[in-house]
Symmetry: C2
Subunit: 210 residues, 2 copies
Amino acid sequence: MRIGELSRRTGVSVPTIKYYVREGLLPAGELTSPNQASYGESHERRLRLVRALLDVGGLSVAAIREVIEAIEDRDRPVHKMLGAAADRVVPRTREEVGEEIVEARAAVADLIERRGWRTDEASPAAEALAVALATLTEVGHGGFAEVLDAYAGAAEQVAGADLEYVARNVERDELVESVVVGTVLGDAIFAALRRMAHVDASRKMFGTGV
Amino acid sequence: MRIGELSRRTGVSVPTIKYYVREGLLPAGELTSPNQASYGESHERRLRLVRALLDVGGLSVAAIREVIEAIEDRDRPVHKMLGAAADRVVPRTREEVGEEIVEARAAVADLIERRGWRTDEASPAAEALAVALATLTEVGHGGFAEVLDAYAGAAEQVAGADLEYVARNVERDELVESVVVGTVLGDAIFAALRRMAHVDASRKMFGTGV
């Protein structure tokens, strides 16, 4: 198809599509004449992926470029590709953290050992967790760490469901893409569900009828 | 304390503190002379909250202003304040969505009924969930909705733990602030834990030793 049709099918404007090609988020179309390129279904799929990561995931163009490089690097063993993809979509962290971070990192290392997780306490995700815990302490809610095991148990359930879905439904070629999509959109889905469950729980605890 | 000390204690620069005061994120200090203002512990606490929402939560200045207005509005019943606070920290959504949204909204309404949640299917969180599900369908992973109940069960556990913590540890005056902090930082904490649990689960499923 031509770029105009790709634009109509995805709702992304032609200048924006050209920008994504220049930025390396989308492969160039196949030239059919000096001034015309042809795009296929793989372009449409990639374009939808880029928009999902941008709009729902809130990733930057630079982060999306790294994620796409991870998706396209087919030489690494599967679990290493998955780890690299996960590291690149880690939630934001702070540039400066106070001394609370030392204690928070120890709490994260304890948690990993307690849960028997085969994961690295120096990974970006573990560091992001330590930063969030240190921030809680700074704002006077350090006691919130009491609920960490409830969160960890819930995360194990969600991760197990994610991996079962991936193992059952996804071709190896699409594996990393699926994990990236699932990671980013899964965060959005869980955050929304947590809000809804909060409203339900707080109505039951504090509310009257409606 | 003077503004310089507030800056040293929190690691936020003096011009940034003045900017937050102008933007309504932080109350002005008490004037002790025409050119000097005095700040107290409540300023320090509020400033840490603003930084947490900005840095870890990734909220905009405008969103933080709305959250703070919700925190300071003490006239509403507790569960309504909590609902308003939750609505204002809803994850981002997309501006344009395709026809998949109709089916996704129906799936959300079904989920609410199936789980017996006392929550509104027209709330911002429910709409954010519908948008994320519609986006999954657009990128070719509509089947991911299979795992929605696993996510919802995990969200119930997390929300239950959150509310228990709040009910046990928090004075009524701090209630809404706690929920806002817990909502934003809890998202970051859960996202990090989910990554770590993914790495663990994928090592067990696809990996070798390391």
